[in-house]
Amino acid sequence: MTSPQDPHSVSPARGEESPAIEAQNLSKTFTSGSLLSRRRVHALRDVSLAVRPGEIVSLVGESGSGKSTLARCLARLEQPDGGRILLHGEDVLRTEPRRASRRYRSTVQMVFQDPFGSLNPTHRVEHVLSRMLQLHQPDVPSQGAALRDLLHSVGLDPEVLSAFPHELSGGQRQRVAIARVLAVEPKVILADEPTSMLDVSVRIGILNLLAQLRDERGIAIIYVTHDLSSARYLSDRTIVMNQGRMVEGGHTEDLLARPAHPYTQLLLSAVPDPSRRTPFDIEERRLLREDVRRWTEGEELTVSSVATDELEHWILHPTDRALPAPTI
């Protein structure tokens, strides 16, 4: 299914380890409106991605770029219209067509944007976590010790066990949500804007926790965000999405240092940078937007590498356009 020149799914620099999760040519269309005025939104168009153990991949883009839809498809909260999701080399959309098996859910877990909405307000933290442990790790000899270990690994005191979610701060709630995810010992965590609803004072703490889970447990993490600076801080690779397509991807530092697609340049130009105090050039940004529109409306799009092979930096571009020269 993957053609040789489809670099989305080519392995990153981390050797030939097999992917923790892989998506091939996923597509998803949402329809809305009445029977007569039907509107179709292509949320995902031919999206492929492979994430290896111990790797964090950022998906960045604006609202409506499809980044959250991709994460939700991988979490099996949305059903893709086409394509494959491979886990342990097996197409789970074929073997578990209707809903994900417990085996799938104990491998792939999701952390949501709103930690308040994702914890049951009527249960204490202890209930939330121990239920997860009983379901997914029934053989654990001591529940109490396992609970304390869980809390310790997300940097919380055992006191929070007796608290209800509303008694915790946003940062604490997000840590409980992550502890609940860890209770199933997942191989893959999908984190959908996990810090954007949290106060500045605790955001870095959550990002550091995700990095620690990658480094100490080898968990593969897909980090969905519109904040490029946090993607730069946290992730090994970054993929930029626009209108349901992956438009550029590569190793985070290389991608941000040498953005080749106009949409990536547009996103980067919008990141507040204290060292730049020139007036924002609205006209320049309008031209970039125009460029993005022409670029992504091209019917035939192909993927090319813009950097040296080992850097794995690729870009989506229309076939009738000449590639910009690599600026290395």
Binding site: G171, G205, A270, R285
Partner: protein, 309 residues
């Protein structure tokens, strides 16, 4: 340049059922006309309470226990309802965090601005319509969108309509309370660019409130940093960028990962130290004021080490 806003030892308490919280503690600052002053701090630092006090929009549970707010010589705290009605929008306007959701969903956006103009000025309907088209053009919304309802516009466009509305009566001070927090990065930058364009053409002063230090450094002339109701540092943006003195200011700047330079591990604000015994601002350089404070290690409350800021 003349002083337009003078806040002197402003102290505000919130009275709850069980306890009283001091949200703003003896904050003093001045703003010059045409100046962009940023007020930074995390949630609960009191920055929004200061802004609401200037607009006289404090809720019933809040009480100004001490201090004064003077706007162009007028004592704002003592204005009565009738005087407030004339003063708000004409002299001071405010754009709220989720202002794009504050438009009337049943009215065309153009009519909502026309209403403001007709209520506060002697303009005729056609004059007001012409002025509305100009205002919308000022925030780069085509005049034909006057006939749109709010739901037909994107979040960014709605926020721009609100900004146009706030500028309708050419106020001398515009207060922006996290005006772009709910928006995407690209839209956020376009809106800030427009605020700066409007500020340059109309010459109003801007009190800009956000927790995002990098955004603030980009837009503001001068920056104040608040911590637990106290102003801990006040300095020109250039000095704040290169020579910030208070450890909390530096911690707040480090709460956002940088886009340039080496990738180094950062620690969050909630981890490590907190600041106590915050004194009044003292000058460390011309125009650069810092409050002396002591730091306390939150991991070990006993190891209080004196660190003069």
């Amino acid at each position: 340049m003349n002083t337009i806003l003078e806040i002197d030892r402003l102290t505000i308490d919130y009275h709850g059922e069980e306890r009283t919280v001091r949200a703003v503690d003896a904050v003093s600052l001045q703003m010059q006309s045409g100046e962009i002053l940023g007020l930074a701090g995390e949630s609960g630092s009191g920055k929004s309470t200061v802004a609401h006090a200037v607009m006289r929009l404090l809720s019933d549970s809040a009480q100004i226990v001490e201090g004064s707010i003077r706007f162009a010589g007028t004592d704002v705290v003592s204005l009565d309802r009738r005087e407030l009605r004339a003063w708000r929008w004409n002299d001071v306007a405010m754009v709220f965090q989720s202002a794009m959701n504050s438009l009337n969903p049943l009215m065309r956006v153009g009519d909502q601005i026309v209403d403001v103009l007709r209520a506060h000025t002697a303009m005729s309907r056609s004059q007001a319509r012409a002025r509305t088209a100009e205002l919308l053009e000022g925030v780069r919304i085509p005049p034909d969108r006057m006939r749109s309802y709010p739901h037909q516009l994107s979040g960014g466009q709605r926020q721009r309509v609100v900004i146009a509305m706030a500028c309708a009566l050419e106020p001398r001070l515009l207060i922006l309370d996290e005006p772009t927090t709910a928006l995407d990065v690209v839209v956020q930058q376009e809106i800030l660019a427009q605020i700066r364009e409007l500020q340059e053409s109309l010459g109003f002063a801007v009190l800009f409130i956000t927790h995002d230090m990098s955004l603030m450094l980009e837009l503001s002339d001068r920056i104040g940093v608040m911590y637990r109701g106290r102003l801990v540092e006040l300095a020109p943006a250039t000095a704040m960028r290169t020579d910030s003195q208070h450890p909390y200011t530096r911690a707040l700047m480090n709460a956002f990962p940088p886009m340039t330079g080496p990738r180094v591990p950062l620690t969050g604000l909630a981890e490590g130290t907190r600041f106590v015994d915050i004194g009044d601002l003292e000058a460390v350089a011309p125009g650069h004021l810092v409050a002396p404070s002591r730091t306390v290690d939150t991991a070990d409350e006993h190891s209080e080490n004196e660190v003069p800021a």
